[in-house]
Structure formats: C-alpha cells, structure tokens
Amino acid sequence: MTRLSVEGAVCRHGLLTAVRGVSFALEAGEVLCVIGANGAGKTTLMRALAGAHPLAAGRIVLDGEDVTGLGTHARLRRGIAMSPEGRRLFPDMTVRENLMIAAENGRAGDWTLDRVLAAFDQLEPLLDRPAEKLSGGQRQAAAIGRALLANPDVLLLDEVSLGLSPAAVEGVYRALGEIKETRAMTMIVVEQDLTCALNFADRILCVTEGAVALEGRPDDFTRAEISNAYFGIHEKESADA
C-alpha cells in the first residue's frame, strides 16, 4: 500500500528553484534516505513535505488524500511529523514541555512519553532541564522524541547526524533501527554521512541541484556511482559526451 507519494514537486526561493520536479512513492514502513551535496535542495524538499515550504508545482498525496494545500499543523494531524534541520527545540522550555507539546497537539497512539524515554534513555534525567542547556546529541534525541510523540505515519528526519559525536550518531541510529524493525512508520531521513545512509536505508534518493540524480536500493549501485551522483559528476560527463 502506498503511504506517501510525491509527484513532480517544485519549490522556489524567490527566483531560485531549489527543488525541480522531484517524484517518488513510499510504502508503509519503508525507509528512504535522501542524500546529496550541500545546497542540493534536500532540506527544502523535507520542509515542503512537512508543509513548511509551499509547492510551486506538483502534489503530495498521503494515503490517497491530497495534502498539498494543508498547513504544517494540519499535516501533522494527518500523520506527517518532522524533526527539522537545527532541531528547533523551544530553547526556554523544558525538555518535558517540548515533548508534551507534540504529545498534546499531535495524534494519539503507541508513542507515549514512557516509550520515548525507553527509546532514548539519556532523556530521562534531563526532563526538567531547559532545552537550551542540552548537548547536541541530547537535542537530537529530544527532537526525534518530540516528532515521535505526535504518533506519525510518516516521520521526516532532517540532518540526523550533523554536528553529533560518533557515539551520539550510533545511539540515534540504534534507536531509529529499533523503530524501523517494527515497520510501523515510514521514514524519510536526510543524511550527509553516506555510510550511515547506505546502512540504514531501504531505498536511497540522491538529489543534485534540486533534481533526482539517482533512486533505488542501496545494493543496486556501486559506491562510485553513488558518489558521482552525489557530486553531480555523472550528469556533467554525459552532458560533455
């Protein structure tokens, strides 16, 4: 069953076109990693999926319903939640309050505060600390926990490992791996670290200059093919030829 499909999405920042006609479809429980160089349009694509950036063309369909015209909070209630770039915790609110906001404004479901604390055990002692006092890894855990508490069908995670220590990256992916195992949630993950992305993804989507350069299962491609697509080398060579 198709959970989410994106059809010909185009996004603009003023005169600049950041996303040029991206299309893909995801089954329920599937994990997609979006890779690509800085400025390739990954974050804009994620924001567009969450409803934080308007589509200039194309549409987004969730479980057969066109959600293109819905605002961010309305999409969250339909089941699309996001942990945005920069985590965007509310700095002067406590971790508990940050989590509660998603829990009480999102959907009801299996993900409760207790379950989030079980998945990210480092959060338990931090609950009453203001979010601005957390370390990078703790912030990421809180941001993912916050998105999970909205009980989404589609979880969007932007820049999962950016700015985290190797140990923190491992911790986050361990927790995400457990969620993936349940196959209850479709995930779209933006990941700079190719190794992490290839290990975690069911499918990868490589974006270059706003367009899809490569799409498929990680084993379908050689490492060289992927890194060529990543840096946009493949396209240039074929254009020269």
């Binding site: 969450a50 909070h73 945005p84 509310f90 002067d92 906001i101 404004n105």
Partner: protein, 315 residues
C-alpha cells in the same frame, strides 16, 4: 506630611494594580504575538461602556454585566485578530501600527456616535464599595475598591502565568512565541494560539476598563490615555515579562501618586518622566553592553571622532 507620603505610597501601589491589569493584555500581545495593539485602551473603554449600558439601561446587576461582557469582548478580540491583525502582521512592521491606530480612531468616534460625549461611571452602581475603606493606624485609609482591584491584578497576573506554564493552550502560545514554525511542526495551530492570546488581551483590557469606570469616569476618548499608561507599565517592567508588568504598574502608580502630592498635573508628568528615565537607562545599558562597557564605549567613540577629523584634515 509623612502620613501624606505614606498614604500616597499605598494608594500608588494599589493604583498600580489597575495599571497592571490593563498592561497585562498588552504585555501578553507584545511578548507572545509580537504585536502592539494601539487600540488597546479603546478596548478598555468599550468594555466599560458596554458594562455601563448593561447595568444602567437593561438594569442587570453589575457583576452579571461584567460576566456577560467579558466573553463578548474576548470574542471581539478573537475576531479582530482573525480579520484585521493577522493580515496586518503579514504586511511587515509598519502595517500593524497603521491598522491599529486607524482602528482606535474608528472605535473612539463610533463610541462617541453611539454613547455621546457624556462622562459615564459605574460608581453609583456599586453602592458603598465606591467610597468605603479600612482605617489603618496613622490616619491611613485603605479604600475597599482599590484593594479589590489590586487583588484582582495579582490574580490576573498569577492566573496568566499559570495558564502559560500549566495548560495546553499556554504551552502552545509559548511555543508559538518561541518558534512559530517549530510549533506548527508539533501540531500547534499558531494562528489559533495568536487569536486566543488576542481574545485574552482584549478581555483583560475590558476588565480594566470596568475598574476604571468604577473609580472614575470614562468618555469615548479616554482610551488613548489608558493605552499610554499600559505601555508605560509594560516598558518600565521590561517588555514582554508578565511579572515585570505588575512591578511596572506599581512603579507607575507610585510615581503618579507621589507626583500627585505636588499637584494634579504633576501626577501624570511624573509617570511620564519615570517612563522616559527607564527608557534612557535601558537604552544606555544596551549601548554599554554593545560597546564593552561605558568606559570602553566612550573611549572608542572619542577615538573615532578624532580619527575622522584627522583623516579629514589630510584630504
């Protein structure tokens, strides 16, 4: 003389309660919606006039009139925010000022058209409350009404604080104030949170207006003065801080009350001057923080002046 000062001090503190109520709504809007409604004072007057009409024309008990009026005014605040303010806020920094000052002019004159120019008061409708008081040692009189207003102010500020900390709506309002987009990503309807804040702000202004009408008179043109007092209290207390608003209200009330010992005119002027002094102090503090302290800042400024003159001489 000393008794007079003590009396003035106490009256000033109690008057501060009134200012805190009218400033609380303004402070909430400045703090969480980042919006200054220049018609805030006119909302207070409208609330007062509606209450007076319900009481004096329809013959309702005062308390019932107030309880009926508050939700009506809250609803008005909600609708105004949805229809006018949201659109104005999308148009940049200047439009909200233009729209709300226009709204103030429209409201004042429409109220004049409806209610006429007579000064009106609720003083006659609250019986002995208007003049009764407690006598303290030293000849100090504690008016019942000012004490009630002050208690309501503490309740209002405390209640707002608890609402923002402990309720779902409060957390949604705070999250929206902190990062609107991130709040939306948590499922918060930011526009709704803003409208709710506007409803609370207008209802609080109206409540303050009722108290104003109980202790004094109101006319359709009393609003701008109330906005100015509210703004002064908010600035003195620190922009956007609720606890500060109570303190700001008290400082303003005490300044006016002490100034009143000199003359009735001096009362308003003292309040304005305290406001200006706080503004100068705050801007000075920011300036000194930006320039690495007073001393270093002044030296740097001086050096720049001299440098400019020298380079001018070379040309």
């Amino acid at each position: 003389m000393l008794d007079g000062t003590a009396q003035a001090l106490i009256q000033g503190v109690l008057l501060g309660g009134y200012y805190a109520i009218i400033a609380a709504g303004l402070s909430l809007m400045v703090g969480v919606v980042r919006f200054i409604n220049l018609a805030h004072g006119d909302m207070a007057v409208l609330g007062a006039l509606v209450t007076i009409t319900l009481t004096q024309v329809l013959g309702m008990p005062v308390l019932l009139s107030i309880l009926l009026m508050l939700p009506l005014m809250g609803l008005l605040g909600w609708v105004m925010h949805a229809v006018l303010f949201e659109r104005a806020m999308k148009g940049g920094l200047l439009l909200p000022i233009l729209v709300t000052i226009g709204l103030g002019a429209a409201l004042q004159n429409a109220m004049f058209g409806i209610w006429g120019s007579d000064t009106r008061s609720l003083g006659a409708d609250i019986g002995s409350l208007a003049w009764e008081g407690w006598f303290l040692p030293g000849g100090i009189i504690l008016g019942k009404l000012p004490v009630i207003v002050f208690c309501v102010a503490v309740l209002v500020i405390g209640g707002l604080h608890l609402m923002l900390r402990r309720t779902k709506l409060g957390r949604a309002i705070r999250a929206t104030a902190s990062d609107r987009e991130a709040a939306e990503m948590c499922g918060v309807d930011a526009a709704r949170a803003h409208r709710a804040a506007a409803a609370i702000a207008v209802a609080l202004a109206a409540l303050a207006g009722v108290f104003l009408a109980m202790r004094a008179q109101v006319t359709p043109y009393s609003g701008p003065a109330q906005l100015i007092f509210a703004f002064e209290a908010v600035v003195i207390g620190g922009l956007g801080s609720l606890g500060g608003t109570l303190i700001g209200g008290i400082v303003l009330g005490v300044s006016q009350s002490l100034g009143g010992l000199i003359s009735a005119q001096a009362s308003l002027l003292t309040g304005h001057l305290v406001f200006v002094a706080v503004l100068i102090w705050r801007l000075g503090r920011d300036w000194s923080a930006d320039h690495g302290g007073w001393h270093a800042g002044l030296v740097a400024q001086l050096a720049r002046r001299v440098g400019r003159r020298e380079s001018g001489a070379e040309q």
